[in-house]
Structures are given as C-alpha cells and as structure tokens.
Symmetry: C2
Subunit: 232 residues, 2 copies
C-alpha cells in the first residue's frame, strides 16, 4: 500500500495542470463556469433547471452533465433548449479536468456566458479534483440533516457558496438551521449560504442575484483585461 | 493515465484477499456481519440505533462506524451500550477490508452475534470494495428521489437488501414507489426491499424479521458445520 499516495499525487498534479488549461480556455472565450457538487438527490439538476429558466433570457447558458450511467438529467436539461454535453463516467465517482476538457471541445464556447457543470452525486470525492471552473458550489438539502458540515468537512471547506435546498420540508425534519450555519462557518468562514426551495421557488432570488453579480463582475474583469470581446 | 487501471486492479485484488481473511475470522467466531451503505443523510445511523434497540435483548451486537472525520455517529452508538469501534477514514471515501481488519482486532468477537458496519456516506465508491461481511445492505431514502437506482446502478446491483427510509415524508415528495421498485428490480432481480421510517417506526418490523432470519440461518449453518460453538 506504500505506493498508493505517490500515485494519487501524480494523478492530482496532472489533473491540476489540465484544470489550469481548462480555465485559460474558458477565459479566452469569456465563459464564466461553475461546478455544482452534492450528495445524490440534493437537487443539482433541479437548481440547474430553475437557473436556466430564470436567466436564459439574459445570458447564454450551457451545461455539462456528469452522471455514472443514465441520461435522465441530460435529457431534462436538453429540453430547456440550451447546449449541453453528457459525461457518462462509467462508474467513476467524480468529474475530473480531462472530462471537462473533452466536454469543452463539444460546446460552442464563444457564444456562451455561463457554463454550469453538474458533478457526480457524491459528497466526498469531487472535492479532490479541480476542474478549472471559476466557482465551486455545494448543494446541501434539508433531509440530509444539519450535521453534514461536521461529517463531510473537506467538501464544505473548499467551496465558494453553499445552497441549502428543500427548505419547503423544514417542518417535517429536525433540522437546526443555526447548527448547520455554525458548522459551515467554522469550516469556511464568510462563505455565502443560500437557503432555498427548488420546488416552491422560495429563496431562489438570492441565489440568482449572487450568481448574476458574480457573472457580471467576471465579464467586467474580462472586458478590462481585454482578453475576451463580449458585448454583454 | 494508462497506468491507472492496473494500479487500481492491484489494490482491489489485495483488498479482496483481506476481505476473505476477514470473513474467515468472523466465521471462526460465529459473527454474522452486515455492511450498511448509503448516501449522506439517508439514515444509516438511525437504522443502526433502531436495530440495536430492538435486538440487543436477544443478540450480542457490535458496531464499526466509518466516518470521514467526526465521532458524532460513534458517540450515538456507544450511548446504546454496545461495543463499537470508530474508523476515521481521514477523508477516504469508503471503507476497505484493511480498515475492517483493524477494527476486528479491537472487538470482543467471541461474544458477538451480529456485527453492523456503517460505511462512509457515499453512493458510489463503497460498492467497489468488499469488506468480508455476509450481507451488503443499501439504505435509500425518499427525499433522494425515486430515480436513484437508474442513476447509481453499481451500488444497487451489488447489494443483498435495499432499505427505503423516510417513508413518513412520502406525501411531501414526488416519489413513485413503483418506479423505484422497477428500477431496483431491473438491476437486482428478487432483491428484498424494505420501505420503512426510522422516525415513526413504520415498516421496521419487516426489516428486523428479515435480519433476524438471516442471522438465525447463519447461526444454524455455523452449528451444523461445527466451525463455531455458539449457544445462540
């Protein structure tokens, strides 16, 4: 077993180099990219669908869908009429930068403002693999329980925002929002937390406002640096 | 990347050998062992606590608790007064046979009838690593959604029973039990499915009956083969 750690380190280092190349390619095209990570069933696809519907009149959106096997999620996204690519990981427990690289080959990047990547449903492994995106977002959900930051710290530590989905079922669960917030804050001080419900729409406006602000700020930086000519 | 597959294969093969050794050790002591796998927050610890409370008057139970970091679950189990061992995986996304081997060193195996292993909360990676237990059980939960068998097939394919927890919140979710059952059945024909609620107790009797039947049948086989002298 003594050879395992060096092997993993080499893989991660190769992955990081590819992630940097992905980032450069996204920046050259002026594409702001976010990576959504979550446990299975927390609501990654639901949040993507809500986000597409709210923003597609204002921004050009594309989606990369990571899944072990099925095209269920990719089909739902494609039905929204935005460009999408399906990555079937064939059992792999996370997306890596090489998979994103292949996806970028298949997307019309020059016309895209916002690229949303849906990672494999997994609260552990995706935290280890940088993809080259600009923001990493974790989607937690009320039924998972308020203790998840305490039990899965690496994922909570590494993200730029935490969405807490399914707040419409708060009354049915023993979920202490303050305990959850304290757990997140201890691992990732100052990180934004967005309690919302993709089912009822409650709280979505705060998430969408943040996302659009981040996207606009990115576009402004791009225009200043001149690395991407975008007219919006 | 061409060296990755052989390396993983070697690790898995080493793991399988250790799993066989674990099984032999459990059988020598007459310990029936089950491995509980699930997404984060599906209710592994809740099912363990319910099972301990129902069966500890009749059987000697011990628990191995796998967690990335915290002792939250191990503390709850220890409060039930059964022998327990905590495995802090330090970020690793699954338990492996070597971790179980170390745990067995710390348990009074000769006095134990039923060993319950709680795996790391992860619907992908634990499916790949045999531990040496007698039964593998997957805990799904209603809030995760009825499409999980279709989206995470490897885990559903490899288990001996599927618990569907949190049926008390069925009215709050769009969960089609028939669609879920068909998905499970397609991957794992004839596998037992136990819809239940660890919160209300509904359906627990069916799970407990199955578990005790499996345990009794194991004990009878052990007595016939004479490999373990246990008086229950």
């Amino acid at each position: 077993m003594s050879t395992r750690v060096p092997v993993v380190e080499n893989i991660l280092s190769a992955n990081d180099r590819l992630a940097e190349a992905n980032r450069a390619r996204l920046d050259a095209a002026g594409v702001f990219a976010i990576n959504l990570m979550a446990s299975p069933g927390a609501g990654k696809t639901s949040l993507i669908l809500r986000t597409i519907r709210a923003l597609k009149g204002h921004w050009h959106i594309a989606v990369v869908e990571g899944d072990l096997a099925s095209t269920l999620d990719a089909d739902r996204v494609a039905a929204e009429g935005v460009p999408s690519v399906q990555i079937a990981t064939g059992g792999a427990c996370h997306l890596d930068a090489a998979m994103i690289q292949s996806s970028l080959d298949q997307l019309p990047l020059e016309g895209v403002d916002l690229l949303i990547v849906e990672n494999v449903g997994n609260l552990v492994c995706p935290a280890e693999f940088r993809l080259g995106v600009h923001r990493n977002v974790l989607i937690a959900s009320v039924p998972e329980g308020d203790d998840k930051p305490y039990k899965y710290p690496p994922m909570y530590r590494g993200v730029d925002a935490v969405v807490l989905n399914k707040i419409d079922v708060l009354p049915a669960f023993d979920f202490d929002l303050d305990y959850f917030r304290r757990g997140v804050e201890a691992l990732n001080p100052g990180v934004r937390i967005f309690p919302l419900s993709c089912k009822t729409g409650e709280g979505l406006d705060t998430w969408l406002t943040w996302l659009e602000e981040e996207l606009r700020a990115y576009k402004e930086r791009q225009n200043v640096s001149g690395s991407s000519g975008t007219d919006r």
